[in-house]
């Protein structure tokens, strides 16, 4: 192998309470397309931020073109030739394509004024070289996302980048746009530009990448040729499960339920949404925990959100025999559904309000008379649930933002449980909460299902999913690729389903 253009040696980065990167190394040769993979919290974004000068490493160093470097800020990294393409294009949407392409290095004419004609002409030439035919005088935002990505790429190359880091570049692209992007990536690699490619779509990695580095929990667990690693092997590295020795007896507090042949309470048919969901169908029965399995970006959260009407989607959702026509979170709640969202901070808690008000938020109309809230009714409910879920707070009047993550999660669970739902959708209910609270939440899920509640469980923690769910619907790239029940619910089987070659169309 030739001299690596980028050489990361033993880099560590610590944040308060977590070791985000632990002695991670990564080498990328000129012209190589290097895949960087890992689940949430594996340390990918921290590593990228170190490479681009957003963070400084606590230990270890980064060598670029043979020299040790320490970028003080993102601009320095860019000037040195390390460009980053994020999933959301970070250019100036209202400026013209040409201006974006030449931002900061516009061709000058007389009196130091920008030579517009030349800039537009050159921009068109550059883009045509990548097979993109657009009017470069149009504002960037009038282009499709794919074309915008291409402009970002062209800009990166034009400013003489040696390394291009691509973070989930295809997550919002059409298949046709993806093809163009891949062509450009291959061309760049042919010119000796090194590419660090981050994606959760395994198909893309196998199409595009030469080598792969797998991160897990801040550590590098594998680096090697991608061709020598099959899908199952890659997935088990990412999830930290040895495909051969998966144990049945887990560490979680779940037990099995037998829903038998009970009528499903929720029927989902052909749920579809452009780029994200492709004809998802499944049933959920009362008294049973139905798991939604899949890697990051497989459409698990989107499915849950579409079911409760928080995300627009086509298809049928039937709850207790009633087809939901005008879908909205309010309608879903009336129909007896409740969803615990994945992002507790952004979509769950109302930080300025007290524990009490956060718990009664959804139930408030039923705890009021003539539009005036009844404190007595609220206090009763709040007291019941704070006891039942063992919510640790100084008082119900404490601000919810002052609680720990686990207690915030319990507050949100209380918010939904006090509506007495018949179906509970839980998106990553134990993420980011401490071990004790985790076990409590798991036990609670178990108890609720035993009481006859229908539960949909989404979890990236494979062990939690296998232990918790009685049935698992496996999703990949927004489509159902398998359904496991009974004794078939094993980590092995989930990984096998995830690793299947996609059906070619």
């Amino acid at each position: 192998m030739n001299q690596p253009v980028l050489d990361v040696r033993g880099v560590s980065k610590r944040f308060p309470g977590v070791l985000a990167l632990d002695d991670v190394s990564l080498t990328v040769a000129p012209g190589e397309v290097h895949a960087l993979v890992g689940e949430n919290g594996a340390g990918k974004s921290t590593l990228i931020k170190i490479l681009t000068g957003v963070y400084r490493p606590d230990a270890g160093d980064v060598h670029y073109r043979g020299e040790p470097v320490a970028f003080g800020r993102p601009l320095d990294a860019q000037a040195a030739g390390i460009s980053t393409i994020y999933q959301e294009v970070n250019l100036v949407p209202l400026m013209s394509v040409a201006r974006n392409l030449f931002l900061g290095r516009e061709p000058r004419g007389r009196f130091g004024l920008i030579d517009l004609a030349r800039m537009n002409r050159e921009a068109a030439e550059v883009l045509a070289g990548y097979g993109i035919d657009v009017d470069v005088r149009l504002p960037l935002r009038s282009l499709g996302l794919g074309a915008q990505q291409m402009v970002a790429l062209a800009r990166a190359v034009a400013i003489d980048a040696r390394v291009v880091i691509m973070d989930e570049p295809t997550s919002s692209l059409e298949p046709r746009e993806v093809d163009t992007l891949f062509r450009v990536v291959r061309e760049l690699s042919g010119r000796g530009i090194a590419i660090v490619y981050v994606s959760h779509r395994l198909d893309e990695l196998y199409q595009l990448c030469d080598r792969v580095t797998v991160l897990r929990d801040g550590r590098r667990v594998h680096t090697g040729e991608l061709a020598g690693l099959d899908r199952l092997g890659l997935i088990s590295l990412m999830l930290g499960r040895d495909a051969a020795e998966v144990r049945r007896d887990g560490l979680t507090g779940f037990s099995a339920h037998d829903a038998g042949d009970v009528e499903p309470i929720l029927r989902v048919r052909d749920l579809s949404r452009a780029h994200q969901l492709h004809g998802i169908s499944f049933d959920v029965r009362p008294g049973e925990v139905t798991g939604l399995g899949g890697l990051l970006g497989s459409g698990r959260s989107e499915t849950a959100k579409a079911v409760v009407g928080a995300l627009g989607a086509d298809g049928e959702v039937t709850m207790a025999g009633q087809r939901l026509t005008r879908r909205s979170p309010a309608a879903a709640i009336r129909a007896g559904m409740a969803m615990l969202p994945e992002d507790r901070k952004a979509e769950g808690i109302v930080p300025g309000l007290s524990v009490r008000e956060n718990i009664v938020l959804a139930a408030m109309p039923t705890l009021s008379r003539f539009g005036v809230v009844s404190r007595a009714k609220q206090d009763r409910i709040v007291e019941t649930f704070m006891k039942r879920l063992r919510i640790k707070a100084a008082s119900p009047e404490q601000k919810v933002s002052e609680l720990s993550g686990g207690n915030q999660q319990k507050v949100l669970l209380a918010r939904w449980l006090c509506l007495h739902p018949r179906l509970l959708l839980l998106d990553e209910p134990t993420r980011g909460i401490d071990v004790g609270a985790k076990a409590e939440v798991q036990a609670l899920i178990d108890e609720l299902a035993a009481d006859g509640l229908a539960v949909v469980l989404i979890s990236s923690d494979l062990e939690e999913l296998v232990e918790g769910a009685d049935r698992i619907v496996v999703l990949r790239a927004g489509a159902v690729v398998g359904e496991l029940a009974g004794d078939d619910v094993t980590e092995d089987n989930i990984m096998t389903a995830l690793a299947q070659e996609p059906a070619h169309d």
Binding site: V308, A310, S328, P329, A330, A332, I333, R334, M339, P341, A346, E347, G348, I349, V350, P351, G352, L353, E357, L361, A362, M364, P365, S368, G371, V372, V373, K392, E402, L403, S404, N407, R415, D434
Partner: protein
């Protein structure tokens, strides 16, 4: 573990003064100014002086109450001044039908402006500052069209009485402003709508997922703000004894925002301080009166007001980064 993490962010001895200042600073400032005036301003405690101060501040308080709710929803309403002008312009047109119909129509006009604002914000999805800017400009234009660009004297006895009369020595306008503060305080603290409003302002995505009627709450809030602004316009017209749509409510949106911010309501939404807003309006009024009484020019008063706003915003920032 929770307590430990909270403490590491800011030791209690540092967090408390900042928090106390945020929570009670505006009341302390009002109290200090009153004491200062009692000591150094001639005739301050005389009924006539106090009365003038309160009568002047009443329309600001009423407009600021609506503004506080809109700001609590993570929005802002720049059109309150124009709504006052609209209400003033509508009054003489319908006063022929009697006092109550004319006032009612003026309030309905304010409510309609609120419907437009609220719809632009919650349904169309415009940013509040842009949505209400349209009616800041257009509203006053419309008011001038209604009024033919003229100042019109008011002859209706009831309306004039509203502006100058009093009950047990308290002017009607002050009485109305006081009652409204109590009512709005109750609405915000104790009604389903009020709590939903605070939740929507605090986290709109979460409120939507919790099934709250986000659009209805937002539109309702802008309507309420519009009606309150219209009422302020009616009272201002009554006190002036004339409808002057080119002058009434000028820059009122800024006075109202100032009162709300100085009163400790964060611009980021999710919290509404009704009493603080009243105190904020009083404080700004007292500052100006004090400086003018002590022969400082109006320009100096304005600069000091600017200083107070800066301090208030700084204190609010202190709390957010806690």
């Amino acid at each position: 573990m929770t307590e430990a993490t909270v403490k590491t962010y800011a030791p209690p001895d540092r967090i408390r003064p900042a928090r106390l200042l945020q929570d009670y600073g505006v009341y302390a400032a009002v109290a200090l100014l009153v004491l200062f005036n009692v000591a150094f301003t001639d005739n301050f405690l005389q009924a006539a002086t106090l009365r003038t101060q309160l009568v002047q501040v009443a329309p600001v308080v009423i407009a600021a109450l609506g503004m506080a709710m809109v700001i609590g929803s993570e929005g802002v309403d720049l059109s309150v001044g124009s709504v006052m002008a609209l209400a003033a312009a509508v009054l003489p047109l319908y006063i022929g039908y009697g006092f109550w119909p004319a006032v009612l129509i003026a309030l309905v006009v304010g409510g309609l402006v609120g419907v437009v604002n609220g719809t632009l914000v919650s349904v169309v999805g415009l940013q509040p500052i842009v949505a209400t800017l349209a009616l800041l400009v257009g509203g006053r234009g419309l008011a001038l069209v209604f009024a033919d660009g003229q100042l019109k004297g008011i002859k209706d006895g009831t309306l004039l009485e509203l502006g100058t009369g009093e009950l047990l020595g308290v002017p009607y306008t002050v009485l109305i402003a006081g009652c409204l503060a109590v009512v709005i305080g109750f609405v915000v603290q104790r009604t389903t709508y009020g709590r939903q409003l605070v939740a929507v302002g605090g986290n709109r995505a979460a409120s939507h997922l919790a099934g709250l009627p986000v659009k209805r709450v937002l539109i309702g809030t802008y309507v309420l703000c519009g009606v309150l602004a219209a009422l302020a316009g009616v009272l201002a017209t009554a006190r002036l004894g004339a409808s002057d749509p080119s002058a009434i409510g000028n820059l009122m949106e800024l006075s109202a925002i100032t009162a709300v911010v100085v009163g400790g309501t964060p611009l980021t939404g999710g919290s509404i301080r009704v009493l603080g807003t009243v105190a904020g309006a009083l404080l700004m009024q007292l500052v100006r009166a004090t400086l003018i009484n002590h022969d400082l020019p109006d320009s100096a008063a304005q600069m000091i007001q600017a200083g107070i706003i800066a301090v208030a915003v700084y204190i609010a920032r202190e709390r957010r980064t806690r």
